[in-house]
Symmetry: C2
């Protein structure tokens, strides 16, 4: 995949009701879980199989932050990087619905749940996405957030350049 | 710092109203920003100084996920790893209030904003924390979430082991 796709990029108006995408990501190894947790979330149940066995998780589990990042990445490459997305004001909801154990593949579905133009600025709009991830049919993770994206008017070159 | 502190760990009852902590973290280099974004959030304004200069950010900025993780880590080491925290059901709010530019140190404040015992289980309670991070006095990031933590009753050995 190119670093930055050169095909025509989607703007606000190109995202219409019903837009959705699906991805599959492979299970993590215990080494991948431990390496991530060491850097970013060094709690015992993410770091050490023996310590984790003594907790209610029963064995090593991925950091919820690792789940969040790995579920986001395919959508970023597939959709955001092929659009005029210019950032996000935040995340409205993250839910860790069950632990993500080593070796479990995740099925991810991302759905556009709301779209609205900015009330103040004609150059941008807001797309609200919900991402859900499941192991087999067991809901494991969800995230809901808003992406800021340029409208057709927002991607026009300024008059001085015409 | 030890991997898992062996001092007596705090349980639910040890967290009382007014509990708070403060941390300082150093600014990121452009290399640290690009390395993280390549792995987890490969958008142009996190990956490439020249591409970023053409966006509304004006220059390279850290991924909001990198901000989230780096703000969380000192609290994890200082507080969660010295407690009977057993996980979190999710995150209720993440706000990226301004971009985090390379070289900007962050001041972090974490405050306990609510505490309640589980209505159903005597072995656990819920602590709601708000984390705020600022560059000088400019609010840059905030996060609000709930930590599940064992009560004194929850850390008692089962009667069969007495």
């Amino acid at each position: 995949m190119e670093k930055f796709p050169t095909e025509e990029k989607k703007c606000f108006e190109d995202f219409t009701e019903g837009f959705n995408r699906g991805y599959e990501i492979p299970g993590l190894s215990t080494t991948e879980i431990i390496e991530f947790a060491t850097l970013y979330d060094p709690q015992r149940f993410h770091l050490d199989a023996q310590e984790a066995a003594g907790t209610h998780f029963g064995s090593l589990v991925a950091s919820g932050f690792q789940t969040q990042l790995l579920c986001f990445k395919p959508f970023c490459l597939d959709v955001l990087n092929r659009s005029w997305a210019i950032g996000a004001p935040g995340i409205d909801s993250i839910k860790w619905l069950r632990p993500w154990y080593p070796g479990e593949a995740l099925s991810i579905k991302v759905t556009l749940i709301d779209r609205r133009p900015s009330a103040k600025r004609h150059d941008r709009g807001y797309l609200r996405f919900k991402l859900g991830a499941a192991v087999d049919s067991l809901p494991t993770f969800s995230m809901e957030w808003v992406v800021i994206i340029l409208t057709r008017e927002g991607i026009k070159p300024p008059a001085s350049q015409l």
